[in-house]
Symmetry: C2
Subunit: 199 residues, 2 copies
């Protein structure tokens, strides 16, 4: 069974403050051209997406430089809606993928989504680095709420990929599952991804 | 083990004649803004992508209307570089995914890629419909080379999704594998997808 952890991408999909807005324009029109297609303009960090080191780290790797097995693997989901204290006692497996359920996805279209969300401490981020994780992901707009982005820098500086703006995670808490988080193949700082859990 | 069947997406990625060209512009600049991101404009049928019925069928479904298990499953790869006669004797499994290796991906950057490629007959397309496939895919620019797109209409008219512009398929011929073909979640006629084989 699959669970879709990805948000729908359209012109109403919120973007991080300052990021370019999504635009969708018709290209071919079925009745006139014989086919229907569109021209889609998106920021590399729109909706459910993956951050590569290049996003925050000088000379950091672009997303196409990661082996495919970095985008899939055994995953666990930790409830951090009451804070990230639960992380250290969650029995995180080395080399896996960890999702953090903040429950912020309930507020995805509210102003609060970008203004008031829980973040991990630098200590927790450094602990995750010791676990040599492939990726971390969360149902919030960012792993940071400080202007100098310390958590991004710890994780991306250690080549741990970050998935942001996930959804539908509550049903995964306490379950074991396989995660497939496949970004479109851009040689850039990040990319929209389709992220699914396979139970 | 994973094999990446997706082409790299950048401004040099060829587009189908008449389709809008890919544009990639910087948005945030690391040294100035504290992060690096980009604004990416692509056609819904650029590079490795999936066609939804809406692409060619009046009132056809958009890509977001398909259940996730339509984008993953048992797959086989048939060598059709000498024609599609091999299809009917290939032992196609009902409800699966079939990839057709045309070997056109060797010419991905040549003019010939869009001008001279093998296509299946309407008879073969109708045979595939009887197999109730989830998806078909191929390493060529289109399943059609006629202006009225008969093969698209047979497949999409029966809700069989089509993956175009695959690559790296030669090594899959004769193997059993699981395919994950995950498009970004657009409510449109198609979308770029990351397509991977898991052996």
């Amino acid at each position: 069974m699959f669970i879709d952890l990805s948000v729908l991408l359209n012109e109403q999909t919120p973007v991080y403050p300052g990021d370019p807005k999504t635009a969708i324009k018709p290209a071919g029109v079925l009745a006139k051209d014989g086919w229907c297609d569109h021209y889609v303009s998106v920021g590399t960090h729109v909706g459910t997406h993956i951050d590569a080191p290049m996003h925050m780290i000088e000379s950091g790797k672009s997303l196409d430089k990661f082996e495919l097995d970095r985008f899939a693997g055994s995953a666990q989901c930790i409830d951090v809606s009451d804070g990230f204290d639960a992380v250290k006692t969650a029995g995180i497996q080395e080399g896996g993928i960890v999702l953090f359920c903040t429950k912020m996805s309930d507020k995805y279209f509210d102003k609060a989504y970008y203004e008031n969300y829980p973040v991990m401490s630098e200590e927790v981020a450094n602990y995750l680095v010791t676990k040599k994780l492939k990726m971390v992901g969360l149902d919030a707009c960012s792993v940071d709420n400080k202007d100098d982005f310390p958590i991004h820098k710890i994780l991306l500086g250690n080549d741990i990929l970050i998935i942001e703006n996930l959804t539908n995670m509550i049903q995964l808490i306490g379950k074991e599952f396989k995660l497939y988080a496949l970004p479109i193949k851009l040689g850039l700082d990040g990319a929209p991804a389709r992220v699914v859990a396979e139970l």
